[in-house]
Symmetry: C2
Subunit: 348 residues, 2 copies
């Protein structure tokens, strides 16, 4: 069942990109190539958000799989848009272990004989536009959903919240990284709730439940569950970003330290005596791997790794509590509980 | 009447920004400031697109001003989003003679004590996000429009076309500027039709007409009129970008030459003996005003200025022909004819 629905999502996404590429090709071959890089960027994701939409929808008795697929696809496109624009903001060129939209399009420019400066401009242009196109398509999926007006309006409100709050989180992330003072743990947690938990967990779950006509109290419980599990998930991701296996995470374990990313690890470390060993290299674009290794040791020594793992566990506990208190139907409650536990197990 | 409706658009835009600022303030003061810069960026525009929506709607007998206002606002927000992301792509800091979103937010970063590199990052982040937020809000205005499903779907298709084709044009603009060979006149015209005419003229007119329930043949005529007049308008804008009065246009008359923007002026010049005098400085970021003055003289001498003006006039003629052939109702036909003529008179 899960596989069937997952393949429905791939089919729908594939159809959207194929149609857009065809239309783009009528305008300009470079534009068709842009859609090709956008499709590439979208593929290879874990499709967490579509799965959450589907789980919540089926969990509350929804049976119109095509409706759920379209809402699921909207959240996956939203995610793609955010990743692409996040890379523009961070000037990143790698995503999921491969070249991102900007890098692919910059390489295309080089093949067309441009100089390095021009190829950078092509890459950034492609990334800004690809994000806009994916974002627009996400809106369109919900706007055209053939359900009654009140239900569609609620789904549009959820989408609006996803965009509105994520933008706040993305901005806060950048502001935090630029501040001289270490970011407090409460600010780190608020930022990652805004930047990730709301659009990746709360909103997809709420959208699936609203689409299925779930009771308001259940939707509210799901939203609280989503925020807690989203925070647990992101703390774990940030741990893996520094201590994980690059072959699994698809990114360098030095890059978060080089960027000076303000994670739970860093917020804890800033309150300990080991802080100077970490602060010295944090946010240094020229940080070498050996120096990063020393920072990792310091993060272990000062208890930051343990503290971050504990914090993730606590958020799982809170999420499970919401599940129980929300009295959600089975098998939805058990499935969500399993997801909650897996969120932190990745870092063991 | 026109003034009443115009003020309705300002009131609606003002309400959207005020509401968003309030919600943003609940999350973070920097985020509220981001919405403030977005509102500032939106103000001071000529509101051409809202006026076209309104004209077409009233011209076909539409009387529900609140519906027309919402569609008009959607196109103005779309325009704001495109301007902001266009500035990200071009690394511009000035818009309409004042600091743009990126510049305002970079200045805020400096006030908060960041270094120059960090303030640039704040500025770019704010601009990427502000564009996403304006774009999302444009979609939301149409998606929530209280009209029957088939009419809303047609409006969503027009919005989709506006986004889809503009992205192609924006990409083509950047690709053209990066190419070593001069861009042909036909490519220049295709690019500015895609980048400007479709979303700024064709789509607002079509949306107003669809909202009012105009006959399909009239909508098609309006769309053709919109594309021709949009091209005439942009050729004229590009003339003013090089030969205009900076006090009126709000931009330096050297910036288009510094950027190497491929306009009708440049495409014509490339076919003449004066080309080396122009090519030498075109796209040189360090171009000095005296060198730009010499390029302007060469553009006059080689007939590029006359040719571009003639081309704009020809597009006005074609637009007026479409108006007549389309047999559009009065006073709409006369009002549109007047707009068409004014489009090119600015450069006399």
């Amino acid at each position: 069942m899960a596989d069937l629905v997952d393949s429905a999502i791939e089919v729908e996404l594939g159809a959207i990109f194929a149609d857009a590429r065809r239309r783009a090709g009528d305008l300009d071959p470079h534009y068709a190539a842009l859609w090709h890089t956008l499709a590439k960027q979208s593929s290879g994701g874990k499709r967490i958000r579509p799965q959450l939409v589907r789980l919540a929808y089926a969990g509350f008795g929804g049976i119109e799989e095509d409706l759920a697929t379209r809402v699921a696809v909207a959240f996956e496109l939203l995610h793609t848009a955010f990743l692409i624009h996040d890379d523009v903001i961070d000037r990143d060129t790698v995503r999921r272990g491969g070249p991102n939209v900007a890098a692919r399009f910059a390489a295309r420019a080089i093949r067309y004989g441009t100089d390095a400066r021009t190829s950078d401009i092509w890459g950034e242009t492609a990334a800004v536009l690809a994000g806009d196109l994916a974002l627009s398509r996400a809106h369109r999926e919900i706007a055209l959903l053939p359900v009654e007006a009140t239900r569609r309006a609620r789904l549009l409100d959820i989408l609006d919240r996803a965009v509105f709050v994520s933008a706040a989180g993305e901005l806060a992330d950048v502001v935090n990284a630029g501040e001289v003072e270490p970011t407090s743990m409460s600010r780190v947690l608020a930022t990652l709730e805004q930047k990730t938990a709301v659009y990746s967990f709360e909103c997809p779950l709420a959208a699936g439940a609203v689409l299925a006509g779930a009771p308001d109290a259940s939707i509210a419980a799901l939203e609280r569950f989503g925020r807690f599990i989203g925070v647990a998930f992101q703390i774990t991701d940030d741990i893996l970003g520094v201590f994980g296996d690059p072959a699994v995470t698809g990114k360098s374990i030095s890059s978060d330290l080089r960027e000076g990313k303000r994670t739970a690890l860093i917020a804890h470390a800033a309150t300990t005596a080991e802080w100077p060993r970490i602060a010295v290299g944090l946010g240094d674009p020229a940080l070498e791997d050996a120096e990063a290794e020393d920072m990792r040791t310091a993060l272990r020594d000062c208890g930051a790794l343990d503290a971050a793992m504990r914090l993730a566990d606590e958020h799982v506990t809170l999420a499970l509590y919401e599940l129980e208190a929300g009295n959600l139907p089975e098998p939805l409650a058990s499935e969500l509980a399993a997801i909650a536990r897996r969120a932190v197990e990745r870092a063991r």
